[in-house]
């Protein structure tokens, strides 16, 4: 073991990014490419009566105009409910209706504007509970007849239910009967956007022999192969997917969308290379966004403040198509209580179709959303019990020996130490649990939230790593992980450097992914890179070490058990002065007498998730992830009691990361998540007008937080190792966001005295709570 683990190491690609050299999908040369452009629906729900392409074809340079009538296949990662291009009906404003392929971009744009689509508007529905009412417009006639790509998805006939999951544990009725205090709260969280700074982009070309090359800004290159193959009956081996740097994903670039469309476009122009360019506005309205949620949360506790029962109902707004929504509903159910011990639990989690833009994974995979509901209710309960909210959480914090909502036995390894996080959060956040007046109309207040998260991946997801040497003894690390900002490839390099005891600068990382070259990594999602690819890299490192030892033993004439690989050299522990430098042995060893010894060292490691299961449909019993990550967060606000405006003073996170592999980089990632949470909770929302059209369809009106409004960020770690994970690390990439909306709402609820159960928390929403307007 070397010294690369546990140190602050700069990103391997730092200078590429600081010089503009880092290439993203649409930065690649496009000479020789045709340009494709989308036409999208201006209606939330409408029949397509007719599409007239004549005028579009009149534009010089137009090669193809493609509509839903040209494509029969449906797609969907869990449920095949989505047409690549709307056919007969559009189900959300922004849905792709046609593609134009033209010689250049101006022609493609002009032609798209000339396609005449005749619509007949249909009644639409915009919230999940409204979508479940009798007589609500149905988005899909027979959702249960769509092809299911996984076992555990349960679309319901004659309804807008794309899937449903239930958790039954203990006896909720008995638990409530034993409760001294019961609180029930209702929540509404609107959809919002990932808003990665890079707009999604994809290119496709098909060679004469049927080989397909897709270049895309994707978190899931290997999933692109599978889904494209599924949709268009192309053998998987004929599809090559290339992913250069990705300009932020946050889950939004995990689904497959533009890749399909680019393929369709290319296939209609004889396989010529096609560059599909979408606008920011289309990226927001057409491509999938963050889920919305309605929820009711009922919690009961005894007179000592111990939770006795929970009854939780979640209605996840997945928009017009299922995408990964059902699994977000499942994930939400699996961890629905938050990190608290609740022995008597009843939870129904429904994934509901509406005429919103469809939803997909978003940083936290539904955890930030249910956490908001649970943590707000916890605060209301603490308030009524007159217990300090932080203390209340300590009383109820889930601990080893308890079981998860899906009845997994929890131990220090798979759970971590929430109480330690809460205890550390107290001084870090300056927690005093009180509202402190600043002047006659300003107060300061804090809010706290716990978090936990586990991944929800296919039970057999895989990862792989390959290692080669350069002539100077430095190494190349090759995985299928996408670099989109989380720095996980640098962490993998640290693992390799540490394992081989070489300087971190001796590790070169292949940043782009090419599925012809890089071993499969399931998807760069769920913060599972460290665990899955980390294990693969460890194994590859062990593999290459064993080869070096074999060659070393032969070269040095000793047993391979005596061989040490350290500090860039190979030697026998019996004669440490006789060192062979890595560069002299990595490609086989040339002995002083000129003879060849050994073989070139090539490391390979593979990893597959083990021991996971689907959830029992009746009780939810089962295990979907190897472990949890727990943490605690606090937000402090300064609130103007007259104007209802506020400033966020500080935001603190303590998170159990298992082992602090790269302290600075990890703080940066956590802070980034916190910032995203603050922005989302304070100003971001997809709001829709009465016609179901986005009212904030551009970055001009959809606001993200700019510099200068950010709080003082404070991050500390707890280290409870996770067995079976490299160096004991726990997942921590998405997590900074999870408890922040809840902590902010708790802080503002404390400051204002209002019970704030919706997002975003704008001054106007607080003013409304104050009775400012009768509606």
């Amino acid at each position: 073991m070397g010294t690369a683990a546990g140190r602050s190491v700069k990103r391997k690609e730092a200078w590429d990014k600081a010089t503009g050299n880092a290439k993203y999908t649409d930065d690649l040369p496009s000479l020789g490419h045709l340009t494709a452009r989308l036409l999208t629906s201006p209606h939330a729900h409408a029949k397509i009566k007719n599409i007239n392409k004549v005028a579009a074809f009149g534009v010089k340079g137009v090669k193809a105009v493609i509509t839903g009538l040209d494509i029969t296949a449906l797609c969907g990662v869990l449920l095949q409910d989505r047409p690549h291009l709307a056919k007969d009906v559009v189900r959300y404003a922004g849905e792709p209706v046609a593609i134009v392929v033209a010689a250049d971009e101006p022609a493609a744009i002009s032609a798209a504007g000339l396609i005449e689509v005749e619509y007949e508007p249909l009644a639409h529905v915009l919230t999940p509970r409204a979508a479940l009412k009798p007589g609500a417009p149905l988005l899909h006639d027979n959702p249960e007849r769509y092809k299911r790509m996984v076992e555990d998805i349960y679309p319901q006939p004659k309804s807008n239910i794309a899937s449903q999951y239930r958790i039954r544990k203990g006896h909720a009725d008995t638990g409530f009967a034993l409760s001294h205090m019961i609180v029930e709260e209702n929540f509404y969280l609107p959809p919002s956007d990932h808003l990665a700074m890079e707009v999604r982009a994809a290119r496709a070309e098909i060679s004469a022999d049927g080989m397909v090359t897709i270049t895309t800004a994707s978190q899931s290159p290997y999933s692109v192969i599978k889904q494209l193959s599924q949709s268009f009956s192309v053998p998987e081996g004929n599809i090559r997917v290339k992913v250069p740097f990705v300009g932020g994903g946050f889950g939004g670039k995990a689904p497959v969308l533009l890749e399909h469309l680019a393929y369709i476009a290319s296939s209609k122009v004889g396989g010529r290379p096609v560059r599909l360019v979408i606008t920011r506005e289309q990226d927001m309205a057409a491509a999938p966004c963050r889920m919305g949620l309605e929820a009711s949360v009922k919690l009961g506790c005894d007179d000592t403040g111990r939770l006795k029962a929970a009854e939780l109902r979640f209605w996840l707004d997945c928009g017009a198509y299922a995408d990964i929504g059902p699994y977000m509903a499942k994930s939400l159910a699996s961890n629905c209580t938050g990190p608290y011990r609740v022995d008597n639990l009843y939870c129904d989690s429904l994934c509901v179709y509406t005429n919103h833009t469809y939803a997909t994974s978003y940083r936290g995979f539904s955890h930030a959303e249910f956490t908001f509901c649970i943590e707000r209710t916890m605060d209301e309960l603490a308030k009524r019990l007159n217990i300090d909210p932080l203390k209340f959480r300590l009383i109820n914090a889930v601990s080893p020996g308890d079981s998860s909502p899906t009845q997994v036995s929890l131990n220090p390894s798979n759970l971590g130490d929430l109480k330690a996080c809460l205890k550390k959060l107290k001084p870090l956040s300056g927690w005093n649990g009180a509202v402190v007046p600043v002047d006659e109309h300003t107060v300061r207040a804090k809010g706290v939230s716990c978090l936990w998260k586990s991944a929800d991946l296919p039970a057999n997801a895989i990862s792989g790593a390959m290692i080669t040497f350069n002539p100077d003894g430095s190494l190349n690390l090759n995985t299928g992980v996408v670099e989109m900002g989380s720095g996980s490839k640098t962490q993998l390099a640290q693992i390799l450097a540490d394992k081989l005891d070489v300087d971190i600068n001796q590790i070169h990382v292949k940043m782009s992914v090419d599925t012809r070259v890089n071993p499969e990594h399931h998807k760069t999602v769920a913060s599972m890179t460290g665990y899955m690819a980390g294990n693969a890299v460890l194994r590859a490192a062990e593999d290459i070490l064993a080869q070096l030892k074999t060659t070393g033993a032969e070269a040095l004439g000793c047993s391979s058990d005596d061989i040490i690989v350290k500090g860039g050299a190979v030697y026998s522990l019996r004669n440490p002065l006789n060192k062979i430098r890595l560069k002299d042995i990595a490609s086989g060893y040339k002995a002083p007498d000129g003879s060849s010894i050994g073989e070139p060292a090539l490391g390979r490691g593979g990893f597959m998730l083990k021991g996971l299961s689907t959830l029992d449909p009746k009780t939810g019993k089962g295990q979907t992830a190897p472990a949890w990550t727990v943490g605690a967060q606090a937000v402090e606000v300064e609130y103007d009691t007259i104007e209802h405006t506020y400033r966020i003073i500080s935001a603190s996170t303590v998170i159990d990361v298992g082992m602090v592999m790269n302290p600075e980089a990890m703080r940066q990632i956590i802070r980034g998540g916190m910032a995203m949470g603050i922005s989302m909770a304070s100003r971001e929302a997809y709001s829709y007008d009465q016609n179901g059209l986005l009212t904030t369809p551009t970055l001009r009106t959809y606001k993200l937080m700019h510099i200068g409004q950010e709080p003082d960020y404070r991050v500390e770690f707890v280290e409870t190792p996770q067995e079976g994970s490299p160096y004991g690390i726990r997942s921590m990439s998405e997590h900074g966001i999870i408890g922040i909306p809840a902590a902010l709402a708790n802080a503002l609820s404390n400051a204002s005295g209002f019970s704030l159960n919706t997002l975003p928390l704008t001054p106007e929403s607080l003013w409304k709570k104050s009775g400012g307007v009768s509606s």
Binding site: S110, R700, H706, E764, G772, V773
Partner: protein, 279 residues
């Protein structure tokens, strides 16, 4: 990318600009005068306008003037918001300019562009209305001068083919005590919920507003109420809020009642902060 094509002209003189405008208009090119370009480019990209020609005013010396010449400060129509702010020659206008869009865009957006744009806020009009600036216009009939209060009614009332050559502001007003407050929904870089510009001249407050209604305005009725020293501040503000020239806006930034609420708080703030100058 802008799909449509247009002709780009950059005249060197006022006369050339007016002449080429008339010529292009006569050819059916529907030309537009072009300052910083932000609005024309974004709207052309979105396809909401498709001018056949743009006439860039940035090479015309008169449109680039920024200097105080005795009794008046002259600001050319093609002077950028950044230059106005950095010159510190008219701090109230500088303050208003400094809250339009963002700093980088202020390096491009021109005074004339902000005043004549289609985006309804036109914040730069507020200080000019408060100081009743003289607006110098140029068109096919040559130069024309008009007072800001007569030519800016909800928007600039220009004749076809006319553009803003510049504005002249009475030097006596330049450093008068002022406040400019822009209130947004929650994000600083955003369109306004309410913009309030106020200046104290001869012991009386003048106030102008944008974001509140569908157009920027200065109201003498509101000023009369605000200057009524016999009434309490809160009753003056309540009365002022009842005198809006049009209904308060209701849009993605905020409900109309909320805008009124924000207006009242902001006016209260303004009156409080200016109270030492406003006797």
């Amino acid at each position: 990318m802008i799909a449509s094509d247009f002709i780009y002209c950059r005249p060197d003189t006022l006369k050339e600009a007016a002449t080429v405008y008339a010529k292009l208009a006569g050819e059916g090119k529907s030309p537009v005068y072009y300052g910083g370009g932000s609005e024309i480019i974004t709207m052309s990209r979105a396809g909401s306008i498709a001018p056949g020609a743009v006439i860039d005013l940035k090479s015309i010396p008169e449109c680039k003037v920024l200097e105080q010449n005795g009794a008046a400060l002259m600001i050319g129509g093609a002077v950028t918001l950044r230059s106005i702010r950095e010159s510190k020659l008219f701090p109230l206008l500088g303050a208003a300019a400094g809250r339009i869009a963002d700093h980088t865009n202020q390096c491009r957006i021109t005074l004339g562009g902000n005043l004549c744009g289609t985006i309804r806020y036109r914040e730069a009009s507020l200080p000019l209305m408060l100081t009743d600036a003289e607006v110098v216009l140029y068109g096919s009939g040559g130069e024309r001068k008009a007072s800001m209060l007569t030519i800016f009614r909800e928007r600039m009332r220009l004749l076809p083919g006319e553009f803003i050559c510049g504005v002249n502001i009475d030097a006596r007003y330049l450093y008068a005590p002022f406040m400019h407050i822009k209130k947004t929904a929650n994000e600083k870089i955003d369109y306004p919920l309410v913009n309030v510009s106020a200046i104290i001249i001869d012991g009386r407050i003048r106030a102008a507003f944008s974001g509140l209604c569908a157009f920027p305005f200065r109201s003498m009725e509101i000023e009369a109420v605000l200057n009524d020293k016999t009434a309490s501040i809160s009753s003056r503000i309540d009365k002022a809020a009842d005198l809006l020239p049009a209904p308060a806006l209701a849009d993605a930034e905020g409900l109309s009642q909320y805008r009124i609420f924000v207006l009242k708080n902001t006016l209260c703030n303004v009156l409080e902060r200016l109270r030492h100058d406003f006797k």
